[in-house]
Amino acid sequence: MTIPNTSPSVELGDTTRAELERAGVIVSKVDFLYNWARGGSVWPLTFGLACCAIEMIASATSRFDISRFGSEVFRPSPRQADLMIVSGTVTKKMAPQVVRIYNQMPEPKWVIAMGACAISGGPFKQGYNVLKGIDRYIPVDVYLPGCPPRPEAVLQSLNYLQVKIRSQDIKSDPAFTEGRRQYPVPKFTGTDLEPPYNPDVWQPPVNPNAPAEEEPQEEAPA
């Protein structure tokens, strides 16, 4: 087995490394081992919101078999899960619960926004009761487009997530330095959620062509 050189800071030439490997010594970083282990045992949360959940379930069946990629055990409790697959339409009524479940997950934790609705609200974007993307309240690691995405796409998004996990630096990554990340749970009001988005996580896009004095107008939610 050849361990890829993921530690450029270690002053070891390739020949030395190869010689050491021949002698049965593997030189690597703790980061690599931790991330390799974590990437190979991503435990998703059993948690479905809409039709995307059916595809997520299909990706766990024997035909597609998400466990081939080390994500075998869907956990029923957020306290045992690493990965939240937000699979489907997040209604405004459901959004506080999604944030609360995210808050309950231990670190390190990752989020996949699955499907058009979870990414942006999708076909329901301008409706009165659908959240315009879960990334307004919690940080999303992988966006998985589709309506709904096929199970193969779920597997690919898991692969992308594993690439991301492998590049994590345990000394600087917020998952390891900030403790358990928790975000404020939005409250219900007469028309919308309060706040409509978490400014620490997400900001509305700004019109680059707008005159300077009209900018505050478009940002003020009515």
């Binding site: 405004k92 009524k93 919308d192 509305p204 896009p205 009209e214 107008q217 478009e218 009515a222």
Partner: protein, 191 residues
């Protein structure tokens, strides 16, 4: 397959009940609806023991024109006025006799709409009547647990009403179209 229900005995038993031929529905006065429903469920010839669907309808004031040929053979345009109203529609089947559906309506005014709850007659109405209360704002007299069911409790307004105005929550988008484009112009955003 279920066979259609003969509605005529209802009209004989309850002269207040109307039959709308165009829609094929019984229109029952609100005050009588509970009595009529119980009778439809229990009567030997009907036995409508299953309410499959309850829904609401909202009509605003409207006028529609009809062209009619008069005695001289000329076409005349008659303007019909249809007053604003709300309706609650029940689709009834009989599991016992394998007949149905029979469609029954309660017709209500649009100001302060109040209907009779038929949950006591058909238990399956409970959640659907809650949904109608939530989305149309129709109050069901005698409902055991009338709360919002889809929207949150603090929500204001009834979104399925024709005159519901959704909150203005526009945010700039690089490629606006349709409704978003309209909101664009309402928000006086230059793009």
């Amino acid at each position: 397959m279920s066979e259609p229900v003969n509605h005529k005995p209802v009209l004989q038993r309850f002269p207040e009940v109307e039959w709308n031929e165009a829609f094929g529905t019984l229109i029952v006065p609100v005050a009588k609806s509970s009595e009529v429903a119980t009778w439809l469920r229990d009567d030997e010839s009907f036995r409508l023991d299953y309410c499959s669907n309850v829904t609401g309808i909202d009509y605003l004031d409207r006028e529609f024109k009809e062209k009619v040929k008069n005695e001289e053979g000329k076409t005349e345009t008659i303007v019909h006025k249809d007053p604003a109203r709300m309706e609650v529609v029940y689709h009834l089947y009989s599991m016992e006799k394998r007949t149905g559906p029979l469609v029954m309506k309660q017709r209500l005014g649009r100001e302060k709409p109040e209907a009779q709850s038929l949950t006591a007659v058909w238990r399956s109405c409970e959640l659907q009547e809650r949904e109608i209360f939530d989305l149309y704002g129709i109050h069901f007299i005698g409902h055991p647990d009338q709360r919002r069911i889809l929207m949150w409790d603090e929500f204001e307004g009834h979104p399925m009403r024709k005159d519901y105005v959704e909150p203005f929550d526009y945010e700039w988008e690089p490629t606006p179209h349709d409704e978003i484009l309209e909101k664009h112009q309402k928000g006086k955003v230059i793009f």
